[in-house]
Protein backbone atom coordinates (compact mmCIF):
# COMPACT_ATOMS: atom_id res chain seq x y z
CA UNK A 1 0.00 0.00 0.00
CA UNK A 2 1.37 3.38 -1.07
CA UNK A 3 0.35 5.91 1.58
CA UNK A 4 0.26 9.51 0.42
CA UNK A 5 -0.08 11.86 3.37
CA UNK A 6 -1.45 15.30 2.58
CA UNK A 7 -0.28 17.52 5.41
CA UNK A 8 -2.82 19.99 6.83
CA UNK A 9 -4.82 20.50 3.63
CA UNK A 10 -7.03 22.99 5.46
CA UNK A 11 -3.98 25.21 6.07
CA UNK A 12 -1.68 24.37 3.18
CA UNK A 13 -3.89 23.96 0.15
CA UNK A 14 -4.69 27.41 -1.12
CA UNK A 15 -4.23 26.71 -4.81
CA UNK A 16 -5.69 23.29 -5.40
CA UNK A 17 -2.53 21.75 -3.97
CA UNK A 18 -4.49 18.67 -2.92
CA UNK A 19 -4.51 17.84 -6.62
CA UNK A 20 -0.96 16.54 -6.29
CA UNK A 21 -2.12 13.79 -3.92
CA UNK A 22 -4.91 12.81 -6.28
CA UNK A 23 -2.51 12.63 -9.22
CA UNK A 24 0.00 10.41 -7.41
CA UNK A 25 -2.74 8.10 -6.12
CA UNK A 26 -4.32 7.74 -9.56
CA UNK A 27 -1.07 7.25 -11.44
CA UNK A 28 -0.11 4.54 -8.95
CA UNK A 29 -3.54 2.90 -9.05
CA UNK A 30 -3.61 2.78 -12.85
CA UNK A 31 -0.36 0.83 -12.77
CA UNK A 32 -1.78 -1.70 -10.34
CA UNK A 33 -0.38 -0.34 -7.08
CA UNK A 34 -2.74 0.07 -4.15
CA UNK A 35 -2.65 3.63 -2.93
CA UNK A 36 -4.39 5.70 -0.32
CA UNK A 37 -4.52 9.40 0.44
CA UNK A 38 -4.47 10.28 4.12
CA UNK A 39 -5.57 13.81 4.89
CA UNK A 40 -3.59 14.78 7.97
CA UNK A 41 -5.76 17.31 9.77
CA UNK A 42 -4.49 19.88 12.22
CA UNK A 43 -5.61 17.79 15.19
CA UNK A 44 -4.07 14.55 13.83
CA UNK A 45 -0.75 12.83 14.49
CA UNK A 46 1.56 12.73 11.48
CA UNK A 47 1.41 9.09 10.30
CA UNK A 48 4.07 7.00 8.59
CA UNK A 49 3.80 7.46 4.83
CA UNK A 50 5.68 6.78 1.61
CA UNK A 51 5.37 10.45 0.73
CA UNK A 52 4.33 13.63 2.50
CA UNK A 53 2.85 16.46 0.46
CA UNK A 54 3.00 20.07 1.61
CA UNK A 55 1.02 22.74 -0.22
CA UNK A 56 0.80 26.51 -0.29
CA UNK A 57 -0.99 28.68 2.23
CA UNK A 58 -1.73 32.19 3.30
CA UNK A 59 0.58 33.82 5.82
CA UNK A 60 -1.34 33.05 9.05
CA UNK A 61 -2.06 29.42 8.15
CA UNK A 62 1.55 28.96 7.03
CA UNK A 63 2.82 30.02 10.46
CA UNK A 64 0.30 27.78 12.19
CA UNK A 65 1.31 24.89 9.93
CA UNK A 66 5.00 25.40 10.79
CA UNK A 67 4.19 25.49 14.53
CA UNK A 68 2.08 22.33 14.36
CA UNK A 69 4.69 20.45 12.31
CA UNK A 70 7.45 21.49 14.68
CA UNK A 71 5.50 19.96 17.56
CA UNK A 72 4.92 16.73 15.60
CA UNK A 73 6.96 13.70 14.59
CA UNK A 74 7.31 15.05 11.04
CA UNK A 75 10.94 16.19 11.24
CA UNK A 76 12.04 12.97 12.96
CA UNK A 77 10.31 10.91 10.28
CA UNK A 78 12.00 12.88 7.51
CA UNK A 79 15.39 12.40 9.18
CA UNK A 80 14.59 8.67 9.20
CA UNK A 81 14.33 8.86 5.41
CA UNK A 82 10.64 9.56 4.68
CA UNK A 83 10.11 11.46 1.45
CA UNK A 84 8.54 14.94 1.04
CA UNK A 85 7.32 16.86 -1.99
CA UNK A 86 6.53 20.46 -1.09
CA UNK A 87 5.34 23.50 -3.00
CA UNK A 88 5.19 27.22 -2.26
CA UNK A 89 4.61 27.88 1.47
CA UNK A 90 5.44 24.22 2.07
CA UNK A 91 8.84 24.81 0.47
CA UNK A 92 9.44 27.83 2.69
CA UNK A 93 8.62 26.18 5.99
CA UNK A 94 11.00 23.25 5.39
CA UNK A 95 13.91 25.72 5.47
CA UNK A 96 15.66 27.41 8.35
CA UNK A 97 13.56 30.58 8.44
CA UNK A 98 10.92 32.49 6.50
CA UNK A 99 9.41 35.96 6.54
CA UNK A 100 5.81 36.52 5.60
CA UNK A 101 3.84 39.45 6.99
CA UNK A 102 6.02 42.50 7.29
CA UNK A 103 9.62 41.49 7.81
CA UNK A 104 9.09 39.38 10.93
CA UNK A 105 11.18 36.27 10.66
CA UNK A 106 9.74 32.90 11.61
CA UNK A 107 11.61 29.76 12.40
CA UNK A 108 11.23 27.02 9.80
CA UNK A 109 11.63 23.29 10.40
CA UNK A 110 15.32 23.53 9.53
CA UNK A 111 15.33 20.34 7.45
CA UNK A 112 17.29 22.04 4.68
CA UNK A 113 19.62 25.05 4.59
CA UNK A 114 17.25 27.46 2.85
CA UNK A 115 16.23 30.95 3.98
CA UNK A 116 13.23 32.84 2.68
CA UNK A 117 12.98 36.60 2.96
CA UNK A 118 10.29 38.85 1.60
CA UNK A 119 10.94 39.68 -2.04
CA UNK A 120 10.60 43.25 -3.24
CA UNK A 121 7.61 42.29 -5.34
CA UNK A 122 5.14 39.46 -5.34
CA UNK A 123 5.73 36.95 -8.07
CA UNK A 124 2.54 35.93 -9.84
CA UNK A 125 2.57 34.09 -13.15
CA UNK A 126 3.62 31.13 -15.22
CA UNK A 127 6.78 29.30 -14.21
CA UNK A 128 9.01 27.12 -16.37
CA UNK A 129 11.90 25.33 -14.73
CA UNK A 130 14.45 23.10 -16.50
CA UNK A 131 14.73 19.94 -14.38
CA UNK A 132 17.14 17.22 -15.56
CA UNK A 133 16.92 18.63 -19.07
CA UNK A 134 13.10 18.63 -19.20
CA UNK A 135 10.62 21.48 -18.79
CA UNK A 136 8.59 21.62 -15.59
CA UNK A 137 5.64 24.01 -16.07
CA UNK A 138 3.34 25.54 -13.52
CA UNK A 139 2.05 28.68 -11.88
CA UNK A 140 3.65 30.57 -9.01
CA UNK A 141 2.13 33.12 -6.63
CA UNK A 142 4.30 34.10 -3.71
CA UNK A 143 6.20 36.97 -2.17
CA UNK A 144 9.25 35.02 -1.06
CA UNK A 145 12.87 35.10 -2.12
CA UNK A 146 14.60 31.89 -1.15
CA UNK A 147 18.34 31.57 -0.78
CA UNK A 148 19.86 28.10 -0.71
CA UNK A 149 22.82 27.30 1.52
CA UNK A 150 26.11 26.10 0.09
CA UNK A 151 25.84 22.59 -1.27
CA UNK A 152 22.04 22.57 -1.44
CA UNK A 153 20.96 21.55 -4.93
CA UNK A 154 18.17 23.52 -6.62
CA UNK A 155 15.40 21.59 -8.32
CA UNK A 156 16.19 23.30 -11.61
CA UNK A 157 17.02 26.46 -13.55
CA UNK A 158 14.28 29.05 -14.05
CA UNK A 159 13.51 29.89 -17.69
CA UNK A 160 10.18 31.70 -17.17
CA UNK A 161 9.09 33.30 -13.89
CA UNK A 162 11.00 33.74 -10.62
CA UNK A 163 11.11 30.55 -8.56
CA UNK A 164 13.51 31.06 -5.65
CA UNK A 165 15.30 34.12 -6.95
CA UNK A 166 14.83 34.45 -10.70
CA UNK A 167 17.68 32.01 -11.38
CA UNK A 168 16.80 28.70 -9.81
CA UNK A 169 13.69 27.09 -8.36
CA UNK A 170 13.11 24.92 -5.31
CA UNK A 171 15.57 22.39 -3.94
CA UNK A 172 16.27 18.69 -4.04
CA UNK A 173 17.86 16.69 -1.24
CA UNK A 174 17.57 12.91 -0.85
CA UNK A 175 14.39 13.34 1.25
CA UNK A 176 13.03 16.73 0.19
CA UNK A 177 11.92 17.86 -3.25
CA UNK A 178 10.36 21.29 -3.53
CA UNK A 179 9.20 23.83 -6.11
CA UNK A 180 7.44 27.17 -6.18
CA UNK A 181 5.14 25.79 -8.91
CA UNK A 182 2.04 25.51 -6.76
CA UNK A 183 -1.21 23.68 -7.05
CA UNK A 184 -1.57 20.72 -9.31
CA UNK A 185 1.96 20.88 -10.73
CA UNK A 186 2.04 17.08 -10.80
CA UNK A 187 -1.13 17.03 -12.92
CA UNK A 188 0.40 19.31 -15.51
CA UNK A 189 3.76 17.51 -15.61
CA UNK A 190 3.14 13.77 -15.95
CA UNK A 191 6.82 12.94 -16.41
CA UNK A 192 7.68 14.73 -13.17
CA UNK A 193 4.75 13.16 -11.33
CA UNK A 194 6.19 9.78 -12.27
CA UNK A 195 9.62 10.85 -11.05
CA UNK A 196 8.10 11.74 -7.67
CA UNK A 197 6.01 8.58 -7.66
CA UNK A 198 9.01 6.46 -8.66
CA UNK A 199 10.99 7.92 -5.78
CA UNK A 200 8.13 7.17 -3.38
CA UNK A 201 7.74 3.59 -4.67
CA UNK A 202 11.47 3.05 -4.98
CA UNK A 203 11.32 1.89 -8.61
CA UNK A 204 11.35 3.04 -12.22
CA UNK A 205 7.93 3.35 -13.83
CA UNK A 206 6.76 2.62 -17.37
CA UNK A 207 5.05 5.53 -19.14
CA UNK A 208 1.30 5.95 -18.66
CA UNK A 209 -0.63 7.66 -21.45
CA UNK A 210 -3.32 10.10 -20.28
CA UNK A 211 -4.84 13.39 -21.45
CA UNK A 212 -2.36 15.10 -19.12
CA UNK A 213 0.31 14.44 -21.79
CA UNK A 214 -1.61 16.69 -24.20
CA UNK A 215 -2.01 19.33 -21.52
CA UNK A 216 1.74 19.23 -20.83
CA UNK A 217 2.63 19.62 -24.51
CA UNK A 218 0.19 22.52 -24.85
CA UNK A 219 1.54 24.36 -21.79
CA UNK A 220 5.18 23.88 -22.80
CA UNK A 221 4.39 25.12 -26.31
CA UNK A 222 2.51 28.14 -24.91
CA UNK A 223 5.30 29.11 -22.52
CA UNK A 224 8.05 28.59 -25.05
CA UNK A 225 6.32 30.97 -27.45
Amino acid sequence: MLTIALIYPELLGTYGDGGNALVLAERARRRGFDSEIVNVGIADEVPDAAIYLLGGGEDGPQRLGADLLRASSFAARVRDGNFVFAVCAGLQLLGTSFSVEGDDEYEGLGLVDATTTRGETRSVGELLVRVDGRALVGFENHGGRTTLGEGVEALGAVEVGRGNDGTVDGFRTPELWASYAHGPVLAMNPWFADKVLGRALGRELDPLVTVADQLYDERVATLAR
Binding site: G16, G18, G60, P61, R122, V124, N141, P184
Partner: protein, 404 residues
Amino acid sequence: MPRETPFRDDVAKGAVRTVNLLSRLASRGSGTVIGGRVGLAIAPGLLTNLARGRDVVLVSGTNGKTTTTAMIAAGWGSRVATNDTGSNMPEGLVAALVASKSRAVVLEVDEAWLSDVARATRPRVIALLNLSRDQLDRANEVRQIAERWRALLADLSDVTVVANANDPLVVYAAELAPNVAWCDVPTPWTTDAVSCPRCTKPLTFADDSWWSDCGFAKPQVLVTTDGGPLIVRGTPLAVDLQLPGAFNEANAAMALTALSFVEVDLQDALERVNALSSVAGRFSLRQWRGHKLRLLLAKNPAGFASMLSTLKSDGVDVWVAINARVADGRDPSWLYDVPFELLRGHRVYCFGDRRLDLATRLDFANVAYVVVTDESALPKSSDVINVLANYTAFQEWRARTKAC
Protein backbone atom coordinates in the same frame (compact mmCIF):
# COMPACT_ATOMS: atom_id res chain seq x y z
CA MET B 1 -31.77 71.68 -0.21
CA PRO B 2 -29.42 69.42 -2.10
CA ARG B 3 -25.91 70.73 -2.31
CA GLU B 4 -25.15 72.52 -5.50
CA THR B 5 -23.54 70.22 -8.02
CA PRO B 6 -20.26 71.65 -9.22
CA PHE B 7 -20.08 72.49 -12.89
CA ARG B 8 -17.27 69.98 -13.43
CA ASP B 9 -19.53 67.14 -12.26
CA ASP B 10 -22.17 68.11 -14.79
CA VAL B 11 -19.54 68.00 -17.49
CA ALA B 12 -18.39 64.64 -16.21
CA LYS B 13 -21.93 63.23 -16.08
CA GLY B 14 -22.56 64.42 -19.59
CA ALA B 15 -19.32 62.79 -20.65
CA VAL B 16 -20.37 59.47 -19.10
CA ARG B 17 -23.63 59.49 -21.03
CA THR B 18 -22.04 60.56 -24.29
CA VAL B 19 -19.18 58.12 -24.18
CA ASN B 20 -21.47 55.26 -23.18
CA LEU B 21 -23.80 56.08 -26.02
CA LEU B 22 -20.95 56.30 -28.52
CA SER B 23 -19.51 53.07 -27.17
CA ARG B 24 -22.84 51.30 -27.57
CA LEU B 25 -23.36 52.73 -31.04
CA ALA B 26 -19.90 51.50 -31.97
CA SER B 27 -21.00 48.07 -30.62
CA ARG B 28 -18.06 47.88 -28.30
CA GLY B 29 -19.59 45.78 -25.57
CA SER B 30 -22.40 47.00 -23.38
CA GLY B 31 -20.74 50.39 -23.05
CA THR B 32 -20.74 51.04 -19.31
CA VAL B 33 -17.13 50.84 -18.26
CA ILE B 34 -15.62 53.21 -20.81
CA GLY B 35 -18.00 56.05 -20.07
CA GLY B 36 -17.56 55.65 -16.33
CA ARG B 37 -13.80 55.79 -16.72
CA VAL B 38 -14.01 59.07 -18.61
CA GLY B 39 -16.35 60.53 -15.97
CA LEU B 40 -14.08 59.51 -13.10
CA ALA B 41 -11.10 61.05 -14.84
CA ILE B 42 -12.90 64.38 -15.23
CA ALA B 43 -14.28 64.43 -11.66
CA PRO B 44 -12.79 62.02 -9.13
CA GLY B 45 -15.49 62.93 -6.58
CA LEU B 46 -18.18 62.00 -9.04
CA LEU B 47 -19.26 58.85 -7.20
CA THR B 48 -19.76 60.85 -4.00
CA ASN B 49 -21.83 63.49 -5.73
CA LEU B 50 -23.90 60.99 -7.65
CA ALA B 51 -24.74 59.04 -4.49
CA ARG B 52 -25.56 62.04 -2.30
CA GLY B 53 -29.12 62.08 -0.94
CA ARG B 54 -29.96 58.61 -2.27
CA ASP B 55 -30.70 55.36 -0.42
CA VAL B 56 -27.67 53.28 -1.30
CA VAL B 57 -27.34 49.56 -0.65
CA LEU B 58 -24.01 47.91 -1.47
CA VAL B 59 -23.55 44.16 -1.97
CA SER B 60 -20.15 42.47 -1.83
CA GLY B 61 -18.65 39.02 -1.34
CA THR B 62 -17.05 36.29 -3.42
CA ASN B 63 -20.21 34.57 -4.66
CA GLY B 64 -23.81 35.70 -5.16
CA LYS B 65 -23.22 39.43 -5.66
CA THR B 66 -25.05 39.70 -8.96
CA THR B 67 -27.98 37.53 -7.89
CA THR B 68 -28.40 39.21 -4.51
CA THR B 69 -28.21 42.63 -6.13
CA ALA B 70 -30.87 41.57 -8.64
CA MET B 71 -33.04 40.29 -5.78
CA ILE B 72 -32.75 43.59 -3.92
CA ALA B 73 -33.50 45.56 -7.10
CA ALA B 74 -36.54 43.38 -7.85
CA GLY B 75 -37.71 43.30 -4.24
CA TRP B 76 -37.53 47.07 -3.77
CA GLY B 77 -40.54 47.48 -6.03
CA SER B 78 -39.76 51.01 -7.14
CA ARG B 79 -37.41 52.22 -9.84
CA VAL B 80 -33.89 51.32 -8.82
CA ALA B 81 -30.51 52.44 -10.06
CA THR B 82 -28.35 49.33 -10.30
CA ASN B 83 -25.31 47.97 -12.12
CA ASP B 84 -27.06 44.94 -13.57
CA THR B 85 -24.37 44.60 -16.23
CA GLY B 86 -22.02 43.22 -13.60
CA SER B 87 -19.50 46.09 -13.98
CA ASN B 88 -18.74 46.28 -10.28
CA MET B 89 -15.75 48.59 -10.10
CA PRO B 90 -16.05 52.40 -9.76
CA GLU B 91 -16.45 53.04 -13.49
CA GLY B 92 -19.40 50.67 -13.69
CA LEU B 93 -20.96 52.17 -10.55
CA VAL B 94 -20.68 55.71 -11.91
CA ALA B 95 -22.30 54.59 -15.14
CA ALA B 96 -25.21 53.02 -13.22
CA LEU B 97 -25.76 56.16 -11.15
CA VAL B 98 -25.73 58.37 -14.21
CA ALA B 99 -28.11 56.09 -16.10
CA SER B 100 -30.83 56.35 -13.45
CA LYS B 101 -31.77 59.16 -11.05
CA SER B 102 -33.82 56.85 -8.79
CA ARG B 103 -33.56 57.48 -5.10
CA ALA B 104 -33.23 53.73 -4.54
CA VAL B 105 -29.76 52.46 -5.42
CA VAL B 106 -28.35 48.95 -5.16
CA LEU B 107 -24.84 48.23 -6.39
CA GLU B 108 -22.76 45.11 -6.42
CA VAL B 109 -19.18 46.00 -5.58
CA ASP B 110 -15.97 44.13 -6.25
CA GLU B 111 -14.54 42.93 -2.91
CA ALA B 112 -11.27 44.81 -3.37
CA TRP B 113 -13.10 48.07 -4.13
CA LEU B 114 -15.63 47.96 -1.29
CA SER B 115 -13.73 50.30 1.04
CA ASP B 116 -13.28 53.05 -1.52
CA VAL B 117 -16.84 52.74 -2.78
CA ALA B 118 -18.40 52.71 0.70
CA ARG B 119 -16.44 55.79 1.77
CA ALA B 120 -17.52 57.58 -1.39
CA THR B 121 -21.21 56.60 -1.43
CA ARG B 122 -22.06 56.52 2.33
CA PRO B 123 -24.50 53.59 1.95
CA ARG B 124 -27.39 52.91 4.35
CA VAL B 125 -26.84 49.16 4.10
CA ILE B 126 -23.89 46.96 3.16
CA ALA B 127 -24.59 43.26 2.59
CA LEU B 128 -21.56 40.98 3.00
CA LEU B 129 -22.27 37.54 1.58
CA ASN B 130 -19.15 35.39 1.93
CA LEU B 131 -15.40 35.33 1.31
CA SER B 132 -13.51 32.49 -0.31
CA ARG B 133 -10.69 31.88 -2.72
CA ASP B 134 -11.28 33.47 -6.09
CA GLN B 135 -8.85 34.72 -8.71
CA LEU B 136 -5.91 34.29 -6.40
CA ASP B 137 -3.50 35.56 -9.02
CA ARG B 138 -5.01 39.01 -8.57
CA ALA B 139 -6.48 39.56 -5.12
CA ASN B 140 -4.02 37.03 -3.78
CA GLU B 141 -5.04 36.59 -0.20
CA VAL B 142 -8.60 36.25 1.00
CA ARG B 143 -7.61 37.36 4.48
CA GLN B 144 -6.21 40.65 3.26
CA ILE B 145 -9.68 41.50 1.95
CA ALA B 146 -11.22 40.62 5.31
CA GLU B 147 -8.70 42.93 7.01
CA ARG B 148 -9.54 45.79 4.64
CA TRP B 149 -13.29 45.36 5.24
CA ARG B 150 -12.68 45.24 8.99
CA ALA B 151 -10.83 48.56 8.93
CA LEU B 152 -13.61 50.10 6.84
CA LEU B 153 -16.52 48.90 8.97
CA ALA B 154 -14.91 49.81 12.28
CA ASP B 155 -14.69 53.31 10.91
CA LEU B 156 -18.01 53.78 9.09
CA SER B 157 -21.00 54.95 11.14
CA ASP B 158 -24.63 55.30 10.00
CA VAL B 159 -24.53 52.06 8.09
CA THR B 160 -26.23 48.77 8.81
CA VAL B 161 -24.16 45.76 7.88
CA VAL B 162 -26.11 42.68 6.82
CA ALA B 163 -23.58 39.91 7.28
CA ASN B 164 -23.31 36.15 6.98
CA ALA B 165 -22.81 34.76 10.50
CA ASN B 166 -21.68 31.37 9.18
CA ASP B 167 -18.64 32.69 7.36
CA PRO B 168 -15.87 33.35 9.91
CA LEU B 169 -14.02 35.67 7.54
CA VAL B 170 -17.15 37.80 7.09
CA VAL B 171 -17.72 37.85 10.83
CA TYR B 172 -14.14 38.94 11.37
CA ALA B 173 -14.65 41.71 8.82
CA ALA B 174 -17.92 42.98 10.34
CA GLU B 175 -17.58 42.37 14.08
CA LEU B 176 -16.41 45.91 14.88
CA ALA B 177 -19.24 47.61 12.97
CA PRO B 178 -21.74 49.47 15.22
CA ASN B 179 -24.89 47.97 13.61
CA VAL B 180 -24.84 44.44 12.27
CA ALA B 181 -27.73 42.16 11.34
CA TRP B 182 -26.14 38.70 11.48
CA CYS B 183 -27.77 36.20 9.14
CA ASP B 184 -27.79 32.45 9.72
CA VAL B 185 -27.68 31.31 6.09
CA PRO B 186 -26.44 28.08 4.48
CA THR B 187 -22.67 28.36 3.93
CA PRO B 188 -21.18 25.02 2.95
CA TRP B 189 -17.77 26.40 1.98
CA THR B 190 -15.65 27.30 5.02
CA THR B 191 -12.41 25.75 3.76
CA ASP B 192 -10.79 29.18 3.66
CA ALA B 193 -11.53 29.84 7.31
CA VAL B 194 -10.04 26.85 9.08
CA SER B 195 -7.68 28.91 11.16
CA CYS B 196 -9.04 31.71 13.30
CA PRO B 197 -8.75 35.11 11.60
CA ARG B 198 -8.00 36.66 15.00
CA CYS B 199 -5.46 34.30 16.57
CA THR B 200 -4.65 31.80 13.69
CA LYS B 201 -5.44 28.83 15.98
CA PRO B 202 -7.80 26.18 14.57
CA LEU B 203 -11.53 27.00 14.47
CA THR B 204 -13.99 24.39 15.68
CA PHE B 205 -17.17 23.80 13.67
CA ALA B 206 -19.96 21.85 15.36
CA ASP B 207 -23.72 21.62 14.86
CA ASP B 208 -24.84 25.07 13.82
CA SER B 209 -22.04 26.93 15.51
CA TRP B 210 -18.32 27.61 15.33
CA TRP B 211 -15.73 29.12 17.66
CA SER B 212 -12.05 29.61 18.45
CA ASP B 213 -10.24 29.26 21.79
CA CYS B 214 -9.53 32.99 21.78
CA GLY B 215 -13.26 33.74 22.12
CA PHE B 216 -13.93 34.56 18.49
CA ALA B 217 -17.21 32.79 17.67
CA LYS B 218 -20.40 32.79 15.66
CA PRO B 219 -22.40 35.83 16.73
CA GLN B 220 -26.02 35.99 17.86
CA VAL B 221 -28.20 35.92 14.75
CA LEU B 222 -31.04 38.24 13.84
CA VAL B 223 -32.09 36.41 10.69
CA THR B 224 -32.39 32.64 10.33
CA THR B 225 -32.96 30.32 7.42
CA ASP B 226 -30.37 27.60 7.81
CA GLY B 227 -32.44 24.43 7.91
CA GLY B 228 -35.77 26.14 8.62
CA PRO B 229 -38.17 28.80 7.38
CA LEU B 230 -36.79 32.27 6.80
CA ILE B 231 -37.33 34.63 9.71
CA VAL B 232 -36.13 38.18 9.09
CA ARG B 233 -35.96 40.19 12.31
CA GLY B 234 -38.96 38.34 13.72
CA THR B 235 -41.01 38.25 10.49
CA PRO B 236 -41.55 34.76 9.03
CA LEU B 237 -41.39 34.70 5.22
CA ALA B 238 -42.51 31.89 2.89
CA VAL B 239 -39.58 31.68 0.51
CA ASP B 240 -40.42 29.78 -2.69
CA LEU B 241 -37.81 30.76 -5.23
CA GLN B 242 -37.83 30.09 -8.95
CA LEU B 243 -34.01 30.19 -8.82
CA PRO B 244 -32.41 26.86 -7.87
CA GLY B 245 -30.21 25.85 -4.98
CA ALA B 246 -29.57 26.48 -1.30
CA PHE B 247 -27.12 29.24 -2.23
CA ASN B 248 -29.96 31.25 -3.75
CA GLU B 249 -31.98 30.83 -0.54
CA ALA B 250 -29.02 32.33 1.27
CA ASN B 251 -28.90 35.17 -1.26
CA ALA B 252 -32.65 35.79 -0.82
CA ALA B 253 -32.34 35.91 2.96
CA MET B 254 -29.57 38.49 2.73
CA ALA B 255 -31.49 40.51 0.10
CA LEU B 256 -34.71 40.60 2.12
CA THR B 257 -32.83 41.54 5.28
CA ALA B 258 -31.16 44.41 3.44
CA LEU B 259 -34.55 45.58 2.16
CA SER B 260 -35.96 45.55 5.70
CA PHE B 261 -33.50 48.34 6.56
CA VAL B 262 -34.66 50.63 3.74
CA GLU B 263 -38.31 50.51 4.77
CA VAL B 264 -39.57 48.09 2.10
CA ASP B 265 -42.59 45.95 2.99
CA LEU B 266 -41.17 42.46 3.36
CA GLN B 267 -44.19 40.44 2.18
CA ASP B 268 -44.42 42.49 -1.03
CA ALA B 269 -40.68 42.22 -1.54
CA LEU B 270 -40.83 38.46 -1.00
CA GLU B 271 -43.38 37.98 -3.79
CA ARG B 272 -41.19 39.87 -6.21
CA VAL B 273 -38.05 37.96 -5.17
CA ASN B 274 -39.87 34.61 -5.42
CA ALA B 275 -40.92 35.46 -8.98
CA LEU B 276 -37.37 36.14 -10.21
CA SER B 277 -36.44 33.37 -12.66
CA SER B 278 -33.23 34.52 -14.29
CA VAL B 279 -30.41 36.88 -13.42
CA ALA B 280 -28.20 38.37 -16.15
CA GLY B 281 -28.76 35.34 -18.36
CA ARG B 282 -27.96 32.90 -15.55
CA PHE B 283 -30.27 29.96 -14.95
CA SER B 284 -32.32 30.83 -18.02
CA LEU B 285 -33.05 28.46 -20.90
CA ARG B 286 -31.15 29.28 -24.07
CA GLN B 287 -30.81 27.74 -27.49
CA TRP B 288 -27.83 27.20 -29.72
CA ARG B 289 -27.56 25.15 -32.92
CA GLY B 290 -30.57 23.05 -31.96
CA HIS B 291 -29.36 22.40 -28.42
CA LYS B 292 -31.41 23.50 -25.43
CA LEU B 293 -29.06 24.87 -22.80
CA ARG B 294 -29.23 26.25 -19.28
CA LEU B 295 -26.31 28.57 -18.59
CA LEU B 296 -24.84 28.46 -15.09
CA LEU B 297 -22.03 30.77 -14.02
CA ALA B 298 -19.46 29.27 -11.66
CA LYS B 299 -16.18 31.10 -11.23
CA ASN B 300 -14.47 29.56 -8.23
CA PRO B 301 -14.50 26.42 -6.06
CA ALA B 302 -17.31 27.55 -3.74
CA GLY B 303 -19.48 28.65 -6.67
CA PHE B 304 -18.79 25.47 -8.61
CA ALA B 305 -19.55 23.28 -5.59
CA SER B 306 -22.91 25.07 -5.19
CA MET B 307 -23.80 24.70 -8.87
CA LEU B 308 -22.75 21.04 -9.07
CA SER B 309 -24.96 20.27 -6.09
CA THR B 310 -28.02 21.53 -8.01
CA LEU B 311 -27.49 19.07 -10.90
CA LYS B 312 -29.69 15.98 -10.94
CA SER B 313 -27.97 12.60 -11.09
CA ASP B 314 -29.86 11.80 -14.30
CA GLY B 315 -26.83 10.98 -16.41
CA VAL B 316 -27.61 13.78 -18.88
CA ASP B 317 -24.51 15.24 -20.53
CA VAL B 318 -23.01 18.31 -18.88
CA TRP B 319 -20.98 20.93 -20.72
CA VAL B 320 -18.27 22.80 -18.87
CA ALA B 321 -16.32 25.74 -20.29
CA ILE B 322 -13.16 27.04 -18.64
CA ASN B 323 -11.04 30.03 -19.60
CA ALA B 324 -8.12 31.55 -17.70
CA ARG B 325 -8.08 35.08 -19.05
CA VAL B 326 -7.37 38.15 -16.91
CA ALA B 327 -10.99 38.49 -15.74
CA ASP B 328 -11.09 34.80 -14.81
CA GLY B 329 -7.77 34.76 -13.02
CA ARG B 330 -4.92 33.39 -15.12
CA ASP B 331 -4.28 30.44 -12.83
CA PRO B 332 -6.67 27.48 -13.24
CA SER B 333 -5.21 25.57 -10.26
CA TRP B 334 -8.55 26.03 -8.48
CA LEU B 335 -10.03 23.30 -10.69
CA TYR B 336 -8.50 20.88 -8.16
CA ASP B 337 -10.52 22.48 -5.34
CA VAL B 338 -13.78 21.81 -7.20
CA PRO B 339 -15.50 18.52 -6.29
CA PHE B 340 -15.86 17.39 -9.92
CA GLU B 341 -16.22 13.84 -8.58
CA LEU B 342 -19.92 14.81 -8.23
CA LEU B 343 -20.16 14.52 -12.02
CA ARG B 344 -19.46 10.77 -12.10
CA GLY B 345 -22.28 9.16 -14.05
CA HIS B 346 -22.49 12.10 -16.46
CA ARG B 347 -20.41 12.58 -19.59
CA VAL B 348 -18.74 15.98 -19.51
CA TYR B 349 -17.91 17.91 -22.68
CA CYS B 350 -14.90 20.17 -22.14
CA PHE B 351 -14.93 23.63 -23.75
CA GLY B 352 -12.91 26.81 -23.42
CA ASP B 353 -9.28 27.89 -23.70
CA ARG B 354 -8.34 25.59 -20.82
CA ARG B 355 -10.34 22.53 -21.83
CA LEU B 356 -7.27 20.32 -21.51
CA ASP B 357 -6.76 21.44 -17.90
CA LEU B 358 -10.39 20.58 -17.27
CA ALA B 359 -10.14 17.23 -19.05
CA THR B 360 -7.07 16.33 -16.98
CA ARG B 361 -8.91 17.24 -13.79
CA LEU B 362 -11.91 15.11 -14.83
CA ASP B 363 -9.65 12.23 -15.86
CA PHE B 364 -8.09 12.13 -12.39
CA ALA B 365 -11.61 12.30 -10.91
CA ASN B 366 -12.58 9.29 -13.05
CA VAL B 367 -15.36 11.27 -14.74
CA ALA B 368 -16.11 10.47 -18.40
CA TYR B 369 -15.13 13.41 -20.60
CA VAL B 370 -14.87 14.55 -24.20
CA VAL B 371 -12.45 17.30 -25.24
CA VAL B 372 -14.46 19.34 -27.73
CA THR B 373 -12.47 20.32 -30.80
CA ASP B 374 -15.32 20.22 -33.35
CA GLU B 375 -18.49 21.91 -32.11
CA SER B 376 -20.52 20.75 -35.12
CA ALA B 377 -20.04 17.14 -34.03
CA LEU B 378 -21.79 17.47 -30.67
CA PRO B 379 -24.55 14.88 -30.17
CA LYS B 380 -28.10 16.24 -30.48
CA SER B 381 -30.45 15.65 -27.59
CA SER B 382 -33.91 16.71 -26.49
CA ASP B 383 -32.65 17.09 -22.91
CA VAL B 384 -31.82 20.47 -21.47
CA ILE B 385 -28.06 20.52 -21.13
CA ASN B 386 -26.54 22.37 -18.18
CA VAL B 387 -23.59 24.51 -19.25
CA LEU B 388 -21.30 25.48 -16.38
CA ALA B 389 -18.90 28.20 -17.36
CA ASN B 390 -16.50 30.50 -15.60
CA TYR B 391 -16.56 34.24 -16.12
CA THR B 392 -15.39 35.01 -19.65
CA ALA B 393 -16.53 31.60 -20.88
CA PHE B 394 -20.02 32.39 -19.55
CA GLN B 395 -20.02 35.70 -21.41
CA GLU B 396 -19.10 33.88 -24.61
CA TRP B 397 -21.88 31.34 -24.15
CA ARG B 398 -24.35 34.06 -23.32
CA ALA B 399 -23.41 35.92 -26.49
CA ARG B 400 -23.56 32.89 -28.77
CA THR B 401 -26.92 31.56 -27.47
CA LYS B 402 -30.44 32.94 -27.79
CA ALA B 403 -33.35 32.97 -25.36
CA CYS B 404 -35.74 30.03 -25.83
